[in-house]
């Protein structure tokens, strides 16, 4: 019976395990190790701080974005309202300043009358004849050179 049971189980697994002895080397530079440990802590703190700063900045920018968007929406609404007031006032101004109203006001209140024909003088504008004498010889080349220099100056000045 014991043999049958023993076949069912691998009792070799429960034998005493052989442990290799480890050779522990004593750390000669304890101070360095302490510094390293401290550095690791600093790293952890700095990383956490960075992550926190990033998170805060993202949150802040979102908040700012929300606030600015709200402000823009409000200003747009204000613009629409002011434009409406402007249009209304313009409309009232135009309604009062119709030609009929103006005619009545100037004739009744200001005593103005229409321009009579004698107050109108028609002037005919005609271009006078212009005579240009063509230059010749040195004067011609000199004036051409002057023209080119002027163009160059204009180009340089931009």
């Amino acid at each position: 019976m014991q043999d049958k049971n023993a076949q069912a189980y691998d009792l070799a697994r429960f034998e005493t395990a052989q442990f290799n002895t480890l050779r522990v080397v004593e750390n000669k530079n304890a101070a360095q190790e302490k510094r390293r440990q401290a550095l690791r802590w600093v790293e952890r703190v700095v990383s956490c701080a960075l992550i926190l700063a990033l998170t805060v900045s993202v949150l802040y920018s979102q908040t700012r974005k929300t606030a600015l968007s709200d402000e823009i929406t409000q200003l747009e609404q204000t613009l629409v309202e002011e434009q409406s007031v402007y249009d209304q006032l313009n409309y009232q101004l135009e309604s009062d300043a119709t030609l009929g109203n103006i005619e009545e006001y100037v004739s009744r209140e200001l005593g103005m009358v229409k321009t009579d024909k004698s107050q109108v003088t028609y002037v005919t504008l005609t271009e006078e004849n212009r005579l240009e004498i063509a230059e010749a010889g040195f004067a011609k080349y000199w004036s051409q050179m002057q023209a080119k220099l002027d163009e160059l100056l204009v180009y340089i000045r931009g």
Binding site: Y9, F14, Q88, K117
Partner: protein
């Protein structure tokens, strides 16, 4: 560690001593496998069900649920496009839109569950606030709507301006009432009110065009609405930062009309005076057209209506008759009255043009070559055509007339003969060539087709009556277009009221340049007609349209409304006149039609011609047409009396002389202390100004105004001068025995200061059409 391992070994040994349950190893394995299979089967079944359901929901019903998701998670807000502005030719704003607000109340929000008293208090307070601030609300109706607490949306008032909306906000806030919202909307404003009503038109509550160019160009003016699609949360609030897409609105285009605000004003002013003075029953129409391009510079149908309030009936008599009815009858009558009010008579109503049509007949006959300027015609006072007697307006007959004389004297028998010479086919061909058989195509809604005889339906009697302007029915816009073609060198123009379509930045999107029309008559015929028309105004029956210093041509027309005469036995007439100026090189044509005047006369030459003359008198200088006075006209030119008070007598006399005025010095002083007429008074050249040099005794120097009515110009002037008064002339400028004083500005027998100006109006009693 070693202790632990020892303990384990002991445990294992202990278990080894204990015999297990009596099962064979193979059966246990198969049992386990069965259980596993069963579980796997059940599991697969469940998975299958889930997968099938997922397939159904996500593939089969994909469209359905996608739409549901979009409806649930997205908010679709429309961005209303701004409606375009309407300008006149000088970019004056005639119609524009502004933002306004619709007041919406949620009656549901006023409802306090289980507290009827509080609910009633809220409703009453809300009604008080609304009726107190908003005009035109019926309190009973408001209370009834607010009491319906199942409703969440009650539109109280539309298109409220910002001032009123702010006042309402303050009132609602003071009363601490919930449930009021302000929806942004748009309202159309027409700054000049009842101005160019039939051209501009108006819009409805949804800013859709209902008449005029607002209707005709509704698509261009409306623009395209935009949309903002954004995510919303479970409470329906916007989550704009999650998802937001906007499709901007495209604002409507603006229109630049050919209409000139100044010319429109003058036309409406004088037309309104004529309609009122002559008791015109069926409205007056006026059109001013650029004869070279067909551009409509002004168009009016009087009485008109205020575009800011188009649904109110202006005619109090019509409104009274509508209010006398009730129910459906009243509604129908109101609708008919409104449509009659909005109707643009210039393009929608047909009329028999009368003698004005003789211009078309004359041009056609000359161009066809059947008559020439030297042709002559005999008028015996009447002519019989196929047994139908048609008489001349001049009962005694004109005798023998030249072609020009026939047109000048508007002789019906002569024109019947002209028509007969042309023949039916030729006459109808020219009627068609002048565009009188089809619509002009003007860019205004509701243009009517004419009712004209065709060659198939026209007989000799119809030809005769059509020749002098009866029987055929056309619209005023067709008439003026035909006249323009007759005088502009023979080219048929295309009338239009819009010159340009521009976008919000002012860039031209479309330039509606009229295409050159076909040539209907030759240039020579056009020149000949202009001369005859000018003679008609200078020395003929059109002299009431005469304008000092300008060459004006024209033709009057008086037509009987035959259908009304036949149907109702009433003899009613249409008085019309068309003028063109300057006659030697026409720039504008003016047509005035008075439908059923009830005045001392019904002739176009007496009623409509002065309107055309007044319009020309103001419009021609405005257009920069130079006045040129002939010798005979110089005496009639008026000048303003200069300011002489304080000047020396000599200096004052010189100043007056420069203006063509003479001076009478009263008193022995050296300087002028008072003058009469006062500075600025309009005086004819040759008039006298009284210069007072010793105290102001102008008011004590009184004279009696004589009665000059019925006298000719020469005699009237002499009588007034002899009485120490100055003479000013209006009306007809023709010097003929038939031209006499009709009215004088100061009643006879009244005492007035010496030197006062008496304005006398002359009428030509010989005018008949």
């Amino acid at each position: 560690m070693q202790k632990k391992m020892k303990q384990q070994q002991q445990d294992t040994a202990a278990r080894a001593d204990t015999p297990p349950a009596s099962h064979a190893p193979n059966s246990r394995i198969s049992e386990a496998r069965v259980r596993i299979c069963v579980l796997a089967g059940v599991f697969l079944l469940l998975v299958g069900v889930v997968v099938a359901r997922l397939w159904y929901l996500q593939v089969d019903q994909y469209e359905h649920y996608t739409q549901k998701v979009l409806n649930q998670q997205l908010r679709d807000t429309a961005i209303t496009a701004n409606r375009g502005t309407i300008y006149d030719c000088n970019m004056k704003v005639l119609a524009s839109s502004a933002t306004v607000w619709n007041i919406v109340v949620s009656p549901e929000a006023l409802y306090e569950k289980d507290d009827e008293e509080e609910t009633q208090k809220n409703i009453t307070s809300m009604a008080d606030a609304l009726c107190g601030v908003l005009e035109g609300l019926d309190r009973e109706t408001v209370l009834e709507k607010l009491s319906n607490h199942e409703s969440a949306y009650y539109m109280v008032k539309r298109q409220v301006d910002k001032t009123t909306a702010d006042a309402l906000r303050a009132e609602i806030a003071a009363r601490k009432l919930p449930g009021v919202s302000y929806e942004q909307s748009s309202k159309r404003y027409y700054p000049y009110g009842a101005f160019a009503s039939n051209i501009i038109g108006f819009v409805g509550n949804d800013n859709q065009g209902l008449s005029g160019v607002e209707l005709y160009y509704d698509e261009e003016l409306s623009g395209t609405d935009g949309r903002v699609i954004s995510a919303k949360d479970g409470w329906g609030e916007d989550m704009a930062y999650e998802y937001s897409t906007s499709y901007p609105a495209t604002d409507g285009y603006s229109l630049v009309l050919t209409v000139d605000e100044v010319i429109q004003h003058y036309l409406e002013k004088y037309l309104e005076q004529a309609v009122t003075f002559h008791n015109v029953r069926e409205k007056g129409v006026g059109i001013v057209m650029d004869v070279e391009t067909g551009a409509i510079l002004a168009m009016a149908t009087i009485p008109d209506y205020d575009l800011n309030d188009p649904f109110t009936i202006v005619d109090s008599n019509v409104m009274a008759s509508v209010n006398a009815l009730s129910g459906d009858e009243r509604s129908n009558a109101l609708m008919i009255a409104r449509e009659a009010q909005w109707r643009n008579k210039a393009v929608s109503d047909l009329y028999e043009p009368g003698s004005v049509f003789k211009i078309v007949t004359a041009a056609s006959a000359l161009d066809s070559g059947v008559v020439s300027l030297k042709s002559s015609f005999n008028c015996a006072g009447a002519i019989t055509v196929e047994g139908v007697r048609m008489r001349c307006a001049h009962g005694a007959g004109h005798g023998v007339l030249s072609f020009g004389g026939a047109l000048l004297n508007s002789c019906n028998p002569s024109f019947i003969q002209i028509g007969q010479r042309m023949g039916i086919e030729s006459f109808c061909d020219y009627v068609n060539a002048f565009g009188l058989t089809q619509r002009t195509g003007i860019d205004l809604p509701g243009e009517s087709r004419s009712l004209v005889y065709t060659a198939k339906t026209m007989g000799p009697v119809e030809l005769a009556s059509c020749s002098f302007g009866q029987s055929n029915k056309i619209t005023p816009i067709q008439m003026i277009t035909a006249v323009a073609a007759s005088v502009n060198g023979g080219y048929l123009v295309h009338p239009h009221v819009v010159s340009k379509i521009v976008n919000a930045e002012g860039e031209i999107v479309q330039d509606l340049v009229a295409e050159p029309g076909r040539q209907v008559v030759s240039e020579d015929v056009s020149v000949a007609l202009r001369d005859i028309l000018e003679e008609t105004v200078s020395n003929g029956p059109g002299n009431m349209a005469y304008v000092l210093g300008y060459r004006v041509g024209g033709k009057s027309g008086t037509s009987q409304k035959l259908d009304k005469a036949q149907a109702e036995g009433q003899e009613v007439y249409i008085a019309s006149f068309v003028g063109v100026a300057p006659a030697d090189d026409p720039k504008i044509a003016v047509l005035v039609v008075l439908d059923e005047p009830d005045s001392y006369s019904y002739y176009g030459g007496q009623l409509s011609a002065p309107v055309v003359g007044s319009v020309m008198n103001d419009v021609l200088p405005y257009l920069g047409v130079e006045a040129s006075y002939s010798q005979s006209e110089m005496g009639s030119v008026e000048v303003s009396a200069p300011y002489c008070k304080g000047s020396s007598v000599t200096a004052a006399q010189v100043t007056l002389q420069k203006k063509g005025l003479s001076a009478t010095v009263i008193g022995g002083g050296t300087h002028v202390v008072a003058q009469f007429p006062t500075a600025g008074t309009s005086l004819r050249q040759g008039s006298t100004v009284l210069l007072y040099t010793e105290a102001d005794n102008s008011t004590t120097n009184l004279v009696t105004v004589p009665d000059v009515r019925g006298y000719t110009a020469g005699i009237a002037q002499q009588m007034l001068t002899a009485a120490g008064l100055n003479f000013s002339r209006t009306g007809s400028y023709r010097d003929a025995s038939s031209v006499v004083v009709d009215t004088q500005s100061v009643e006879p027998g009244v005492q007035v200061p010496a030197g006062s100006v008496v304005i006398v109006n002359f009428v030509d009693n010989s005018l008949i059409d």
